[in-house]
């Protein structure tokens, strides 16, 4: 159900260009074991593979998933700009 809601949310964003409203806290059931991540929103879903990417870092070195990841994975952070 949660995955379906996330898919719907992603579809809404793509079709209408507007993010769906946040579910009201009162309407969301309290799960006994919530996943640690929020799981919703645009971009690759939990369980999906990250798309391949390649870009230069601040030292001019070209980086990819394989050059960046540690033995246990990678934390990938998207920032909107360097000032906000």
């Amino acid at each position: 159900m949660k995955a379906r809601a996330a898919l719907l949310a992603a579809a809404l964003v793509q079709c209408t260009g507007t993010a769906p409203p946040a579910p009201s806290p009162a309407a969301s059931p309290r799960p006994a074991a919530a996943p640690a991540g929020d799981g919703s929103g645009p971009g690759p879903a939990v369980g999906a593979a990250l798309p391949a990417f390649e870009a230069p870092d601040q030292n001019g070195t070209t980086q990819t998933f394989d050059t960046l990841r540690g033995p246990n994975g990678l934390l990938l952070n998207f920032n909107r700009s360097v000032v906000w």
């Binding site: 309290r30 996943p35 990250l50 798309p51 870009a55 870092d57 980086q63 540690g70 952070n77 909107r80």
Partner: protein, 257 residues
């Protein structure tokens, strides 16, 4: 960031700015982890992260701006966790992501109750407006004792509530998976927590609550007051429902530029 590296997890930030801007930004802030220049927004588009709701002004018109999302991928590149805030000005702290992975929090206190020990802490000692951080409750119940999980009937489940405060937006409490306990005399099976377990509650520092108090200072302390309701029973005795006042103190600070 060092804490992620200790756990064998690489860290990277992707920003839709030219390479020269990224280089100056990293130098200015002494950032040693990789920051990628996604100058043409190709990565943002490929990830499906362009924020179409963003109302661009000035020199941002025509640029693709991403949602401020964070992904935790395993070594094979499969997304294990995803963090995303509806409001772009809000962002989960990296320390919060770490406590969700099981790292200890900071500060707090140890409370010895009759049938359990509770250690409270916070993912962050300092938080800025818009930041979402995590309050941590690490329980250790006495052997052969249990507390009740949400959904239980006839007993008081563990429940943490925060006092309403315009400075903080409180989020849902995260519970660990509940076990089940069979009480033979009543032939009942109930959802319980036993032994060591952890409750987590996120709070976001609201901009309207936080910003006015920065007039005369760059940082100030703030207190979150909460109440823990619970009921503990052993294999032979059921104790009455009880509650505990809890308190966390954090420093609210301005964003560092």
């Amino acid at each position: 960031m060092e804490s992620f590296r200790k756990r064998g997890i690489g860290v990277v930030s992707v920003i839709p700015e030219p390479a020269a801007t990224i280089k100056a930004f990293a130098a200015r802030h002494g950032i040693t982890y990789p920051v990628l220049s996604d100058a043409d927004a190709a990565i943002i588009r490929r990830f499906g992260l362009v924020d179409r709701t963003f109302q661009a002004t000035g020199d941002l018109v025509g640029k693709d701006i991403p949602y401020a999302a964070t992904f935790l991928a395993d070594a094979h590149g499969v997304v294990r966790e995803k963090f995303f805030e509806e409001a772009a000005e809000n962002r989960r702290t990296t320390a919060s992501i770490l406590v969700l992975q099981g790292e200890p929090g900071t500060g707090g206190q140890e409370i010895r109750a009759d049938h359990f020990t509770l250690r409270t802490s916070s993912s962050n000692a300092e938080v800025a407006p818009g930041q979402r951080f995590t309050l941590v409750l690490d329980f250790e119940l006495k052997p052969k004792h249990h507390a009740y999980a949400p959904g239980v009937k006839g007993y008081r489940p563990l429940e943490l509530s925060l006092e309403a405060d315009p400075l903080f937006e409180a989020h849902e409490t995260r519970y660990p998976p509940a076990g089940t306990y069979y009480f033979a005399p009543l032939k009942e099976t109930v959802p319980v927590f036993e032994g060591r377990f952890r409750l987590l509650k996120d709070a976001t520092v609201t901009l309207p609550g936080a910003l006015p108090r920065f007039k005369d200072t760059d940082a100030y302390p703030a207190t979150l007051n909460g109440t823990l309701k619970y009921q503990v029973c052993s294999d032979v005795v059921c104790y009455p429902p009880a509650s505990l006042p809890l308190q966390w103190t954090v420093r609210i600070r301005k964003w560092v530029r």
